[in-house]
């Protein structure tokens, strides 16, 4: 975290009250820094008004897909008789290279708790779960402590702040599967079932956890909510820069061999170049930027020429990738794309839940081909097979978005760096006996 920036509640709603010593902000301090004002305002409003407000603010989901948060809330059933509802926070932050929710939960646990209370009020949930990545031990500890503090302060439990609203909140730590970040797999896991995604429809808003209406939002999305309540729609929309159509601020970062890898709260629309050069300090000595992923392992590679694009959902998508989590990764010129992609695909193949065929059996095939190419043992036709895999693991062809995300880096790597793949093709399709791990089943 660069501390050289002058942060205020108006400009940095997510991070302005972080402490310099990087210790968690506990209840008293949090309350001194405008904490729980959003809750007070929200509880005074009708739930539908809260939903409209968040909708109007233009907050889009920060988990990667960018689905409008207010809209998601408004999909909860209008039928009041469906009165058992769950508010779930997706805190299973497992995207390789992504570490934004961790910061918020470790150092600002009350911000998430406050956001959860407001969200629960909006969707009329009486119980909430924070589904937390198991390895986030410190976050679990801090969240649990924050929840205890909030309970004692009458901010959780029965009749919150005398409003008549009840809400209880639990931290549930995951057992370590990437797919639990998919909201329906998360729900299955929470219920104690295998973490396979569910088919939609019905969507969780209608039938989610234990078959009841459920809303699942990312940590950062929920953390945006208190200040929207506190400062209003116009302020929130005005945070944006470079004419971005998205609203608010976003935790953005750069990893890879840059001088100052890190994470910063920046207005939506900040260019990638600004983040890379001004915040991350540019590439390390002697290294050139070869390519970059804008928002996680499951996003398409972009080229240096794309660096001047504003980081927001629309612009990045137009360039052929996705904003994703907005935690970019820089790839320097010394890195071989085949090895890089092979590493990514190994991860995605391993993390497939095993439910649908294309993902379960297609991704491992891509890994095996990539390994062969990496060893210079690729065969003519391998690149075409990879391309076909990329096409056939497209959205809608698979059960969930795992495989389509998994092939995004592969397809863009082939698109931009085909020569590196071709270099691994030996052109000796008949000499299979000498190739490690390959069965001589073609003559």
């Amino acid at each position: 975290m660069s501390l050289s920036i002058n942060k205020t509640a108006e400009s940095h709603p997510l991070t302005w009250c972080l402490r310099e010593d990087e210790q968690p902000v506990w209840l008293d301090e949090y309350r001194r820094k405008e904490g729980y004002v959003g809750v007070e305002k929200a509880l005074a409003m009708h739930p539908d008004e809260v939903v409209s407000l968040v909708k109007d603010a233009g907050l889009r989901g920060r988990g990667g897909a960018g689905f409008p948060t207010g809209l998601k809330w408004s999909l909860m059933p209008k039928d009041e008789s469906m009165n058992i509802r769950y508010m779930i926070c997706n805190a299973d932050e497992m995207e390789p290279g992504t570490y934004k929710d961790r910061l918020l939960m470790e150092q600002m646990p009350h911000l998430l708790v406050e956001g959860m209370i407001i969200a629960a009020h909006a969707i009329k949930a009486y119980r909430g779960y924070i589904f937390l990545r198991g390895e986030y031990v410190e976050a679990a500890e801090n969240l649990r402590k924050a929840i205890e503090e909030a309970k004692l302060a009458g901010l959780l439990g029965k009749d919150i702040l005398g409003s008549g609203k009840d809400f209880e909140l639990f931290v549930h730590t995951g057992a370590g599967r990437y797919i639990c970040g998919e909201e329906t797999a998360l729900i299955n896991s929470l219920e104690g079932r295998r973490a396979n995604p569910r088919s939609k429809p019905p969507f969780p808003a209608v039938s989610g956890a234990w078959g009841k209406p459920t809303c699942v939002n990312n940590v950062e999305s929920i953390c945006n909510v208190p200040s929207i309540l506190n400062r209003g729609v116009d302020w929130y929309k005005g945070l944006t820069t470079n004419g971005s159509s998205d609203c608010g601020t976003k935790l953005m970062g750069f990893s890879g061999r840059v001088n100052n890898p890190g994470l910063w709260e920046l207005p939506m629309g900040t260019t990638a170049r600004e983040i890379l050069e001004n915040y991350a300090g540019g590439m390390q000595e002697g290294l050139d930027l070869k390519t970059w992923q804008p928002g996680g392992a499951g996003t398409d590679f972009l080229l240096p020429e794309h660096l001047d694009l504003p980081m927001d959902f629309e612009h990045i998508q137009k360039a052929g990738s996705r904003l994703g989590t907005a935690l970019a990764m820089a790839v320097d010129h010394k890195i071989n794309m085949v090895s890089l992609v092979r590493n990514l695909e190994e991860f995605f193949a391993r993390e497939s839940c095993g439910w649908c065929t294309p993902c379960r059996d297609g991704l491992p095939w891509s890994v095996k081909i990539l390994r062969a190419i990496e060893h210079g043992e690729g065969q003519p036709g391998d690149i075409e097979t990879l391309e076909q895999l990329c096409r056939s693991l497209a959205p809608g062809h698979t059960f969930c978005a795992h495989a389509p995300g998994a092939v995004e880096p592969l397809q863009s790597a082939i698109k931009y760096f085909r020569k590196e793949f071709e270099a691994g093709i030996s052109g000796q399709a008949n000499n299979l006996r000498e190739i490690r791990g390959i069965q001589p089943n073609q003559q």
């Binding site: 599967r177 019905p202 193949a349 095993g354 059996d361 095939w365 097979t385 062809h397 069965q439 089943n441």
Partner: protein
């Protein structure tokens, strides 16, 4: 109805279906794996992808999984679209990337959905060149083999075993392409319905272990439409034979009865028909020496015995066909015909028939049971006594989830969504038994008590529903509260189902069940169902045919009958050895017609070698009063000349011809059925149970074998290199051999084996159905004989509550699915599965007796002694003893009797 457009053609389909169901029902081929008509859609395998367009003008379209897309009105899809075809080919390629391609040594080969679908998609060359993932296999018990390397991870097995059959010892483990389907560790599959995995699995992961040792391809077998003989449910089966042996039993689809599933007793219990000990020729004795006879000698000998006797009685059997029982009745005369059922059971069967006829309450088909929304089961552990009914009841219970999902407009095929919405919600099911039952995991409340007390609860429920039903005096408050609670649950339901039966050995349980049904009906609950479970395959048929009980037969012997003809019946299974011995020893002549060499056969002077269900035709009546025909599968004499095995009715007909007309007229099945129908109007309907021997399709008989049947000219070469003419079947419309019609589109409902072009696996049934998972296109086989009319009064004979007597134990009937059935218990795999049976008492009784659990205890009854290990149950009442009747020679008539000499060790 909805109109959908498939590849430019317009079709009318059921709009409640998904596109895959709609296409398959139209006869269009769309490949699939994870979908199954009985298991619904989950969208896992991605094999059924088709192109869907927004409207007629959309040319781009997008791929959808047809199993997950509703067949909504105005849908435009293409199966033939190039992208869809390429994607489907890709899916098979992915599935095959870890498949071992071991078809030549795989038992599924030729009967394999994976083969069929691979051919259908056109995938024919392998690009995947890397090492394949392998698994270790498990030992799953005597019925099912496990070869995980063949798995394509369609998830059907776990969805069937866990979600459909409610099994708990099987599941999916691991993740990514290392998912593993099996038990937590090796061990016998606990579910009574595990055998269906063999057909549910689209490839060779789960195969029929009983077939393994004597394996042959499906196309090399001879089949016939048959009826399972192992209980009163009457599931339709398709037995396959080669070299004169039944080699496996496959499910035969009947949309009214068992549809896709059988129980393991029915599927694997056929070994008795292959036993070496079976009489294959008639024989008699000269002194101590057994002498085999030819047909003429045997018939003449029987005829001579009869002519020389003063009174000949015939003892029939509930495990023999109507035709055989009728032929016996013809031979000895109606006055001398006895059913072979002991008096108590006979009385209960007659009462059941009376109830079915006069209660005015509908008896649902097995399939219809799945749609009831409240169930009460009095006295029967139906998983043990009519297992397939229990599987249907399990589906009924899940109706609650379907109802909850329907409220949210979730379609019936969206099974995953239904399960998520329903979670553990169940329709209520109440059970009573002397001990726990295998339905405990789904029951809302279970009552363990002696049979009389169960009946009292039943009467109390009926009274609580309708106060004009007889009340039960002195019912304790707690039980009264339960009765009121159950009464209100049943009254509030839309379709309550009452199940009881004969096997608890307590007639008042049947009365109580009838009263509950009647009371509900009187309170305006119109769709009440009543299912009464009988013991054997033709128990209901025999009740309808009529005749006096076995007890009366034995009395007739004491009164001077000097000759008895026993038909397919081991009397020692029914009554005490003492009584049977006493009677048989008084006889001058005993003739036994049976396909098993039973304890009764051993006493016979003349044994006529009858055919089992695999070698004979006949008609049986199931518990709902449905008459169903089973057809001869093969002619054993073709393989072993000299074998003289005929249907029992044919033997009896021959003897009758010889006796009366000195002729050798063997009769035909149709003649016999015609005579039966004219003499027994209550059974006249059986003529329509199946087509007669004159039935032809385009002038052809129907084939018993697939047209690829091979080895015919060689299989008898050890006897003669000249292939004889194939046996001729005078009795049925089927031809022995592959010569004949087997067109799935032909107008027929008797299907020997499921096969259609391109469909070799059991999934071929969808080519015979009016819509997938529906009924057979030309109607499901069989005919219901009983129409109920509303004439009955409430039953008012309420038994007194059971009172324990010190030093005495009332026998509670603990029938066992594996071991209690007289025939299947002779099969080695059933014995293995059954394991050691135990007697059960309450721990308090054990304390009094001073015996420990697992100790050997002994007791004597009716001149026989038993020694069995002891097990405890907190549920069985003090003063009662649970005995596994039917096993270990424990006769059925023990139910309700008193044992007064139970002790540790030897008696």
């Amino acid at each position: 109805m909805a109109t959908i457009h498939v590849d430019g053609k317009e079709y009318e389909v059921d709009g409640a279906d998904n596109l895959l169901q709609a296409c398959l029902s139209l006869g269009l081929d769309v490949p699939y794996f994870c979908w199954h008509p009985a298991l619904g859609s989950v969208g896992a395998c991605r094999q059924c992808a088709v192109k869907q367009y927004k409207d007629a003008d959309d040319t781009r379209g997008r791929l959808v999984m047809s199993c997950m897309a509703p067949a909504s009105d105005g849908a435009y899809i293409s199966i033939e679209d190039e992208e869809a075809k390429a994607f489907r080919e890709n899916v098979v390629e992915w599935l095959m990337s870890n498949h071992p391609h071991d078809c030549p040594v795989c038992e599924e080969g030729g009967n394999c959905h994976l083969q069929d679908m691979t051919v259908m998609t056109g995938h024919n060359s392998r690009r995947y060149r890397f090492a394949k993932r392998t698994h270790e296999n498990q030992e799953l018990g005597p019925f099912v083999s496990h070869e995980m390397n063949r798995c394509i991870a369609c998830y059907r097995c776990t969805r069937y075993y866990k979600d459909y059959a409610d099994g708990t010892d099987f599941g999916v483990y691991g993740a990514n392409n290392n998912v593993y389907f099996g038990r937590p560790e090796s061990g016998t599959l606990e579910s009574e319905f595990a055998g269906n995995l063999v057909e549910v699995c689209p490839t060779g992961v789960f195969t029929d272990k009983t077939h393994t040792e004597r394996y042959n391809r499906k196309w090399d077998m001879q089949f016939a439409p048959s009826i399972c003989q192992q209980c009163s449910v009457g599931c339709n089966i398709s037995p396959g034979e080669r070299y004169g042996e039944v080699r496996r039993i496959e499910n035969r689809y009947n949309g009214d009865v068992n549809h896709y599933f059988l129980c393991d007793r029915g599927r694997f219990g056929y070994g008795y028909t292959n036993l070496e000990t079976r009489p294959k020729q008639p024989f008699t004795y000269q002194g101590e020496e057994q002498v085999t006879l030819n047909t003429e000698q045997a018939v003449q000998s029987a005829s001579d015995i009869i002519k020389g006797s003063t009174r000949v009685i015939g003892i029939g059997s509930p495990r023999a066909s109507l035709e055989s029982n009728f032929a016996l009745r013809k031979l000895v005369g109606a006055d001398n015909f006895f059913t072979g059922i002991e008096a108590g059971e006979q009385q209960r069967l007659e009462r059941m028939l009376q109830v079915l006829k006069t209660s005015g309450v509908y008896t649902p088909t097995l399939r219809e049971i799945e749609k009831y929304d409240a169930v009460i089961i009095l006295g029967e552990d139906i998983t043990q006594t009519a297992a397939r009914v229990a599987l249907s009841v399990r589906q009924a219970v899940k109706g609650k989830a379907r109802e909850m999902a329907a409220v949210q407009s979730v379609a019936e095929w969206q099974i995953a969504a239904i399960q998520n919405i329903g979670q553990h919600a169940k329709y209520p099911i109440f059970t009573t038994h002397t001990d726990r039952t295998r339905l405990d995991d789904v029951t809302a409340w279970h009552y363990s008590a002696p049979a009389a007390d169960q009946a009292r609860l039943g009467f109390a429920i009926a009274h609580a529903i309708d106060s004009s039903a007889p009340a039960v005096a002195d019912l304790n408050d707690e039980l009264q509260k339960k009765a009121d609670f159950i009464a209100s649950a049943l009254k509030q339901s839309r379709k309550p189902l009452i199940i009881s039966g004969s096997q608890a050995g307590e007639i008042t349980l049947i009365d109580a069940a009838a009263n509950i049904a009647k009371a509900l009906k009187s309170q305006g609950v119109d769709e009440v169902g009543l299912t009464l479970v009988a013991r054997e395959v033709n128990s209901m048929g025999l009740a309808m045919l009529g005749g006096k009980s076995l007890d009366e037969a034995l009395s007739a012997i004491s009164d001077g009958a000097d000759t008895a003809i026993v038909l397919e019946n081991d009397l020692y299974q029914r009554m005490s050895a003492q009584r049977v011995d006493q009677a048989l020893d008084q006889l001058k002549h005993l003739i036994v017609v049976d396909h098993q060499y039973s304890a009764t056969s051993k006493k016979a002077e003349l044994v006529l070698s009858a055919g089992s269900f695999a070698e004979a035709d006949g008609t049986v009546v199931n518990l709902e009063g449905r008459a169903q025909r089973f057809f001869q599968v093969y002619d054993p004499s073709y393989y072993k000349p000299g074998t003289l095995v005929f249907a029992a009715w044919r033997w009896l007909y021959l003897v009758n011809s010889a006796k009366n007309a000195h002729s050798s007229d063997a009769g035909t099945l149709d003649q016999l059925i015609a005579a039966l129908a004219s003499e027994m109007p209550q059974l006249a309907g059986i003529v329509g149970a199946a087509p007669n021997a004159d039935f032809r399709i385009h002038g052809q008989k129907m084939a018993r074998s697939p047209h690829r049947y091979s080895g015919r000219t060689a299989m008898r070469a050890n006897i003669s290199v000249h292939e004889p003419r194939q046996p001729q079947d005078q009795d049925s419309p089927f031809a022995f051999s592959m010569e004949g019609n087997n067109n799935p589109k032909a107008d027929r409902n008797e299907v020997a084996f499921a096969w259609a072009p391109g469909w070799n696996s059991p999934q071929a049934w969808n080519k015979f159905q009016d819509e997938v998972g529906g009924h057979l296109r030309n109607g499901d086989p069989g005919v219901r004989l009983i129409e109920t009319s509303n004439q009955g009064e409430y039953f008012a004979e309420i038994p007194a509550s059971f009172v324990a007597t010190e030093g005495q134990w009332q026998v509670a009937a603990n029938y066992r699915l594996f071991g209690s059935d007289e025939l299947s218990q002779r099969s080695a795999v059933i014995q293995e599965r059954a394991g050691q049976q135990t007697v059960t008492i309450h721990p308090a009784d054990a304390k009094t007796l001073g015996v420990n659990e697992h100790a050997m205890v002994s007791f004597a009854w009716g001149g026989q002694q038993w020694q069995l290990p002891l097990s405890f149950s907190d549920h069985i009442s003090v003063g009662t003893i649970g005995l596994p009747l039917g096993t270990n020679g424990l006769p059925a008539s023990l139910a309700g009797q008193m044992i007064d000499n139970l002790q540790e060790g030897h008696a």
